[in-house]
Amino acid sequence: MGNFVLGKYLPYDSVIHKMDPRAKILAMLLVLISIFIPAGYLGYTVLGIVIVATVLMAKLSLKFVWKSMKPMLFMLCFLLVINVFAVKTGDILFTVGTFEIYSDAVFQTVYIAVRLMLMIMVTTCLTATTKPLDLTLGIEDLLKPFKKVGVPAHEIAMMISIALRFIPTLIEETERIMKAQASRGVDLQEGKLKEKIMAILSLIVPLFVSAFQRAEDLANAMEARGYAPGQRRTRYKQLKLHFRDYALMLCSAVLLVLICVIAFVL
């Protein structure tokens, strides 16, 4: 479980790491929109080059990015199966017995696969280069304009940062409980169905108990230190946009326009 890399922060020193989280979030949104525009081979080639360049600029190894894509492989296989059954247009590629597989089915799957891969690469660029705390600061700031229409920007940001903070803790806790129950003879790999259910139960119940306990302790600790959601709060860390941040946002906007042009004009 320690090998779970999707969304992990990697403390390298690169230009992308130094950029303002708000700029990075906005740029990511723009690039995500570009990925969803059906721009054909040329569009995706351009996007692919730009995104891989960004990954390299952030000093992330392609191996790391590949690792964070692994959980998606299962989903892609699943998609391929569904597409093979559902899509019945295009040329017949080959037949298995009496079952015909069409070219569009394969084409669609590849299309989705490419989109997914690009999306994961872009989001990894954000999460691997931005500390979770900075990320939530950025989200809070970006949501501020929506406060007037009743969006609880600060509360959302606080919830996200608490959730992020507790992911590693919960993973650690799970490992601990698994070990404790293993020494009481629980075998998560083998055994009959009834034993397996029992094994999972012996893991989930203590995990829930401790998660609720932690939540309560945290809430009390926050209240004891005078935390009230609605209050005006000052911040130790002030975000400031630099030239590089404007450049990043401009570049991603240009990219979006470029993709639009490729898709709708050419």
């Binding site: 320690g2 409980i177 404790a180 020494s183 009481r184 003879g185 629980v186 108990v209």
Partner: protein, 286 residues
């Protein structure tokens, strides 16, 4: 039948950027039917060491013999379940492992996993609960409704119900009140002396080491720094200073008295003999 570490190494998250070597070629032979304390600063590898004893962690290098079981690094270990039924491991803050609706069911969970029949498991559960000082009225209660100290006892009883030959405890008294801690340590000593169990305790409390244990293993930076009998260990106080260990009160008093001109022998480890020595010397001078 013994416990032997032979150049055992353990590396966490091997071959990743987060790689961390917790044990370096540990050689250690633990005596059977003794009560051994394992001490050392945090991060010295105590918990990693004890988790090898019932194969929760498998060595990255070297080999290890526990009772009749042999575990060699990079070889597929078999029969782990059988090993775990002989070695009971109580984790730090074990109360987290409670999960059943009633204490009875929770206590039966371990034995039943190891293939003991329902009736026998219940018998063992009752016996274990009595050992930790709780009466039968608790059997039908939910383990989640108990106080912290009681939960700890029930969790330890859950391991005792498995009736292991080797009992390993990782800081069993952390967070208990002093009285509860003394009761727990006496229980482990009793299990060791009356029931002939090999007991290993990871602890930070030197009083417990002095009063209840036979041998001490000192861990330092993932290596076994020393392995001596308790009496030998507390005789040489300069050695304790070197390790930044604050000796137990009796030893400290002896040390201070000797620094001010008394001649209390180094093998005096309890208050009664200490007092007798002081009285003798005072009379002698008086």
């Amino acid at each position: 039948m013994s416990i032997e570490f032979n150049k055992v190494s353990y590396i966490y998250s091997e071959k990743t950027p987060f790689e961390f070597a917790a044990l370096h070629e540990v050689d250690l032979k633990l005596s059977e039917k003794k009560m051994t304390a394992i001490i050392g600063a945090t991060g010295s590898g105590k918990s990693t060491l004890v988790q090898h004893l019932n194969a929760l962690l498998l060595p990255s290098g070297g080999k290890l013999k526990v009772l009749d079981f042999e575990i060699v690094a990079k070889q597929k270990a078999t029969n782990l379940k059988a090993l775990r039924s002989h070695v009971g491991l109580v984790f730090q803050f074990p109360e987290y492992q409670l999960f059943e609706e009633t204490i009875m069911k929770d206590l039966c969970f371990g034995p039943k996993n190891f293939g003991v029949s329902e009736e026998e498991a219940q018998l063992k559960a009752k016996k274990a609960l009595k050992l930790v000082g709780l009466d039968d009225s608790y059997l039908e209660k939910s383990p989640l409704d108990l106080s912290g100290g009681q939960k700890r006892r029930v969790a330890i009883a859950g391991i005792l119900a498995m009736d292991p030959d080797v009992l390993v405890l990782d800081e069993p008294t952390a967070g208990l009140d002093p009285q509860g801690a003394v009761q727990m340590m006496s229980l482990f000593r009793e299990l060791n002396q009356k029931h002939g169990k090999t007991v290993l305790v990871v602890t930070h409390d030197m009083e417990h080491v002095l009063n209840y244990c036979d041998e001490v293993v000192v861990m330092k930076k993932g290596e076994v720094y020393s392995h001596t009998s308790v009496k030998e260990f507390f005789q040489d106080t300069t050695y304790l200073d070197e390790l930044h260990i604050l000796p137990p009160a009796v030893v400290r008093v002896r040390q201070m008295l000797n620094a001010r001109g008394f001649h209390v022998p180094a093998d005096c480890f309890d208050i009664k003999t200490l007092c007798a020595h002081i009285a003798k010397e005072v009379k002698h001078h008086g």
